[in-house]
């Protein structure tokens, strides 16, 4: 107590205001209106949809050729195919070797990358506007003429296998992979997007060629530009480079990759015992929503109250009040089909069970009591501010617009985002949480040194499965290597 009083005195002297009444901050001035960038679009004769968001200023352009098919379409026992196809895509065409592509693109100062998501695959570039045309030639070449040489597949496979070895020693990554299995089981979205050693070993050049032939089609693709360019110039560039891209019978592919509704799986509590791990990683996860769900805005606002941003309830309880973690957060990942909801945090092993209890308590509090208006308004402001910041950069705009296109949302939705979020009420949040965020519907995963937390965890749950790192089999929902018969 003494120390505290002394400190207050010193502080007061320092700021030159002994015994001054507590000041309040100066209030804000009138806000200026935020301009949302506006998209224009055109569809080429072969079905390729082209979207342009002009943003004059810096001489920079970001662009994405998006294929409307991703890892959600990986065939059975071919986990990682969509990502591997993207990896090898940029490693050689009919007229260029992998080295020629990398050297050519980088000579222009550009970055080129290809990556699979769950519902799409994206070829992204970022380049000075003066070099856009030349860089796009490479994008068109890899998308249309990739050759998928076996030597390149073998090289990429070895690289991904090595990187998986590293990933599988990280408690947060292991917990996330296990959580996907618990939420989706053997259905799409349940596997590791990059694949596993067992499935990567099976991938052949033929698998990649077939995947490419089936899905990399103009009618199944969207080309998005944002930055320092005129819409007419972008359309002309698209016509020149993609106009002769043959349409084919792949337009149905996106729909094919969407699976029928599944019954939710029974929630489980799973511990992956990693005795050498430096920290424990906790994931509490379950099915979330589709992007097309009419409750999308409610999900975004409810999550911002619960676990989005620094001042969310989870971070308040776990980090700010108790110092249990560097950060606790949650998110929905709405997809073509129902995507996951997950709350995640790391903590020292001994605190893992306490952390689970805190997170579950916050889930149920959201579902059973109204969020006070004084809390809801700032959380909505955080959602809207985050939206504005996501449109600050050319690559951010491309991502927003491409995501709207992927999920068949009208591009004019970019103007509706703010009013829709503002319209969400406390009653909406509570009702949404009651139907989508009840802790009893969620699985719990902890990856860490089990002996430090398994007892208090068993006090919370009747059935706790403990699986050692050596026994862990991520290729099946059972999660355990089947024991060989004696």
């Amino acid at each position: 107590m003494k120390r505290l009083v002394a400190l207050l005195l010193v502080a007061a002297v320092e700021s030159g205001s002994i015994a001054a009444a507590v000041q309040t901050p100066p209030p804000p001035a009138a806000p200026r209106e935020t301009k949302v960038p506006q998209a224009v679009e055109k569809t080429l004769g072969n079905g390729l949809r082209v979207i342009v968001v002009p943003k004059p200023g810096l001489p920079l352009v970001a662009a994405r050729l998006m294929i409307r098919t991703g890892a959600g379409a990986d065939p059975k026992n071919r986990d990682g195919l969509a990502q591997m196809t993207a990896n090898v895509l940029t490693k050689g065409t009919k007229t260029r070797t992998a080295e020629e592509i990398a050297r050519g693109v980088e000579a222009l100062g550009a970055t080129l990358s290809a990556n699979a998501g769950w519902d799409s695959t994206s070829i992204n570039i970022s380049v000075m506007s003066a070099n856009l045309g030349k860089t796009m030639e490479y994008v068109a070449d890899v998308a249309r003429n990739a050759t998928f040489r076996k030597s390149e597949l073998d090289r990429e496979r070895a690289r991904v296998l090595d990187s998986l070895q590293v990933t599988l020693e990280q408690p947060d990554a292991v917990a996330a992979m296990v959580a996907s299995r618990l939420v989706f089981g053997a259905a799409p979205y349940g596997h590791n997007l990059e694949g596993l050693p067992s499935t990567l070993a099976k991938l052949t050049r033929d698998d990649l060629v077939k995947f490419h032939r089936a899905y990399y089609r103009p009618g199944n693709a969207v080309l998005v530009f944002a930055g320092d360019l005129a819409a007419e110039d972008a359309f002309a560039l698209a016509e020149k480079l993609f106009g002769s891209w043959k349409s084919g019978a792949a337009a149905a592919s996106a729909a094919e990759s969407r699976r029928p509704e599944r019954a939710p799986l029974h929630p489980r509590v799973v511990v992956i015992d990693m005795p050498d791990a430096g920290n424990s990683a906790v994931v509490i996860a379950g099915p979330g929503i589709r992007r097309a769900d009419p409750d999308y805005s409610k999900a975004i606002v409810a999550n911002m109250v619960l676990g989005g941003g620094y001042s969310s309830r989870l971070n308040q309880e776990v980090r700010i009040k108790r110092g249990l973690s560097y950060g606790a957060e949650s998110s929905f990942e709405p997809r073509a089909d129902v995507g996951p909801f997950a709350a995640t945090a790391q903590t020292k092993h001994a605190s893992a069970a306490e952390l689970v209890q805190l997170v579950r308590g916050e889930l149920d509090r959201l579902a059973t009591t109204d969020v006070p208006e004084a809390e809801l308004l700032p959380r909505k402001a955080a959602v809207i501010g985050g939206f504005a910041f996501s449109l600050e950069t050319t690559s951010g705009i491309v991502n927003r617009v491409a995501t709207l296109a992927l999920y068949d949302q009208p591009l004019s939705d970019i103007n509706q985002y703010v009013p829709r979020m503002q319209a969400v009420t406390a009653a909406d949040v509570r009702a949404f949480a009651a139907s989508h965020l009840a802790s009893k519907d969620f699985s719990v995963v902890i990856a860490g040194n089990a002996k430090e937390f398994v007892e208090p965890l068993r006090a919370q749950f009747e059935d706790v499965e403990v699986i050692s790192q050596a026994e862990l089999d991520l290729s099946s929902p059972a999660l355990r290597v089947r024991k060989k018969k004696e």
Partner: protein
Amino acid sequence: MRRLSLLLLFVVAAARGAATIPPIEFRHRVLPNGLEVYAIQDRSTPTVAIQVWYRVGGKDDPEKRSGFAHLFEHMMFKSTANMPSEMLDRLTEDVGGWNNATTFNDATVYYEVVPSNYLETLLWAEGERMGSLTVDDGNFKSERDVVKEEFRSSVLAPPYGMLFHVMETDSFATHPYKRPVIGSLEDLDAATLDDVRAFHSTFYRPDNAVLVIAGDFDPQQLDAWTDKYLGAVAKPSTEIPRVSVKEPPREAEKRVTENGASVPLPAVVLTWLIPQASHADSVPLAAVNTLLTEGDSSRLREKLVRGEVAQEVFANADLREDPGLFEIAAIMASGHETAEAEKMIRNELAALAAKPVPVSELEKVKNLMLTSELRDRETSNGKAFSMGESVVIDHDANGINDNLAKLQALTAADIQRVVKQYLLDGKAVVIDYREKK
């Protein structure tokens, strides 16, 4: 009277072939209490970035208190005379903005990006925490636990976290850079609330700070608010302690083995001492970094990663206020040994010193660096960071524009010379990192 000088700088980017970047125009003032202010106006969106750079970082950690400057950074979000704990979040996140802070070896930066109608509010808040902190013991202990969690999740949990944690300790002989900014769990446990108070009064003062504002503001309003809220913070009469230790030149090559708990693939790191950021060789060394590891066509990525010897390779021209490090790290591909990567890295450096890089490769490096700089300048916060770095780390505000002109003028001979001088001096520190047996 306050001094006001207006600097409008234009770079003539004249190099043939390479693209140009519009220069950043900035205003500079020094308030009577010593606070420096740099302002970059851009009214295209109604947001503004506010950064306060304090000239204190990990290198200024008190004796037996490694990690303290960073721990202190966390305390700056706690209470002041007129702000309860976490009020900074109320003034940023709650109105659609955000905030954060970063502790480097040489500086600690606090930043907020907010709708521009909140500029005055945030200048008041920065004045508040520059003037006083009233952290209590409960807040202090709980936040110290957060920092220990940060240590576990960034150093202990990732397989190569420990490697980058020990790299500086192995690389510096006497300079306090040898202590990692995040510190050690023991030293964090030893820290007290008295340390917090002493650190604030020693280093958190207007004559040890640089305010950078970028984005939407009215210059007259900005000046008036800066004078009112930050100009009112008193300048103490005490001296600001500065690190005077000079890192001695290395005598010879040094080899060390370090271990981590779960390291599936061994790794190797090579470090060399390089001059301070304000030195003329900073730009060529940064270019060498790009040339070696930026993009799949970079020298080391082609040889080591595409060559299937390494799983990953990184380089960093780690330029600091005092002499820093050039670092090259490789995580091996399975079945390969660190000695192979080390040899290939050394061969590539020797090749760079022996023969000038082709014109096309030099142009590629310039284009990659310019485009990367453009991306950094897409946001107000990015521009403010470039400004703050130029002022605080490079000791040259004009560097924000001049460095790009220097890059344009860079020659193959410059690259050859710095590789020979700094990376082939026969005095590397070589760290071999593998799993504890």
